[in-house]
Symmetry: C2
Subunit: 229 residues, 2 copies
DNA sequence: GCAAAAGTGTTTCTCGTACACCCATGG
DNA sequence: CCATGGGTGTACGAGAAACACTTTTGC
């Protein structure tokens, strides 16, 4: 081994911003820390990257350990490396963001988390480390990306109503959308499968339920299609 | 210190994809490695992150040391962390991409680089490590970003002709653009300063020279303006 | 006077936007 | 029968796309 690999090494962690949609309210998942530093404070789920796993594997493992969540949409966000971002030693954090179908998903706190809970996006406790900055970066990314890639569906149940889809965009983009124009646009893409089902037992006309047609989307992308809301 | 900081630590490097525009041809900057592994092979400029510098500082320092370039547009790209991406030990690389005004910029090889040179984007030597993957990621990012942010100007001299600007977009986006429509669109944004100067000594009608109006762009962004080509 | 690049307007068509009423269902 | 959310069409205007000729300059 040459000299170069013997530079002092920073610690490397992954941290995850997990978004969920709860009856039209955008939420994030936080864990209460069991360990120092910031013991007892709320923070993003995350932890140290092990030598035998990739960064994404580390993120998925930590999410599973601390919150019980698995199989969710996960994408790398940004790597945070300010020298003093951890009060004890040099720690570089590779941040990810995740989207989860909240309805019917139970949380389980364990690992380095004392407690796990969902918080409303604009009403959450103060966060440990520079996690507030990570969160802001994730929100910006989500708002930017949701318009150009069909990732919003990751926040909805597999079968959903058009009004749920519209509401999702309204919440994420923070602006009202016109119902007829929204429906016209989304339907014209031809990416929704009409399941033939409707909602049940509602005190008004029952809505049709749709599914996102992932296979068709991927075929269209190959032909140069660009999703855009 | 708690147990957690005593996990084995990976090495952390930064690697930079440096783009330049040379008479209408998109180029990247490579260095020939002085050290093992991959000694004598071409690679992206980069190196180990030191404990007392941030990631971006590390990227700028390595670029300065290995190529002599400073003060260029630099933005974080992606972090590569496959377990076996370095044959010797675990190395996580935070990749950046940079844009440089090539005309009038001289290179200087030093540091861990035996030699430094520009290569045409689609005709370059095989690269060390997973640097080919990093390069492809950078190209995709550049193509995606150049249409929505005025970063193309970073590749042109401070004063430029409209035809140079159009040519830049044609090269990066890999498609021909209509001259009249391009000029109409770019001029309608009101972000170009007419310097009153023209090119000199050319065997045809002399072109007007423009500068990008960064201050005005930033003011417009604050009012919700979106750059788009 | 010719080669070479600069510069310039109009028409057509697509797509985004604005906008209001009837329908189905449960209580 | 009423409250609640579901579902539908059209007219207008802005901006994208297509397209060809004249101007300036050096040699």
């Amino acid at each position: 081994m040459t000299y170069s690999y013997e530079f002092p090494r920073p610690s490397v962690t992954v941290d995850c911003v997990v978004f969920g949609l709860d009856e039209g309210d955008l939420k994030i998942l936080l864990v209460k820390r069991l360990l120092e530093p910031f013991r007892g404070q709320w923070a993003l789920p995350g932890g140290f990257v092990r030598m035998e796993e990739s960064l994404e594997e580390a993120a998925r493992r930590e999410l599973e350990e601390e919150t019980g969540l698995s199989d969710l949409f996960l994408e790398q966000l940004f790597t945070f490396g300010r020298v003093d971002r951890d009060p004890r030693t040099r720690v570089i954090s590779v941040a990810y963001y995740a989207l989860v179908k909240m309805q019917g998903t139970a949380l389980r706190a364990s690992g380095d988390a004392e407690e796990t809970a969902w918080f409303s996006l604009r009403n959450h406790p103060q966060l440990a480390f520079d996690h507030h900055e990570i969160l802001e970066t994730a929100i910006t990314r989500l708002k930017g990306k949701v318009r150009y890639q069909p990732i919003g569906f990751e926040l909805l149940p597999t079968r959903f109503k058009l009004s749920q889809l519209q509401h999702l965009y309204e919440v994420v983009l923070e602006k009202k959308l016109d119902k007829r124009n929204f429906r016209k646009k989304i339907q014209s893409m031809g990416l929704l499968i009409d399941t033939g089902e409707t909602e049940k037992q509602v005190a008004h006309r029952a809505a049709k339920l749709y599914e996102f047609d992932r296979a068709k989307y991927e075929a269209l992308v190959d032909r140069g299609f660009n999703f855009e809301i």
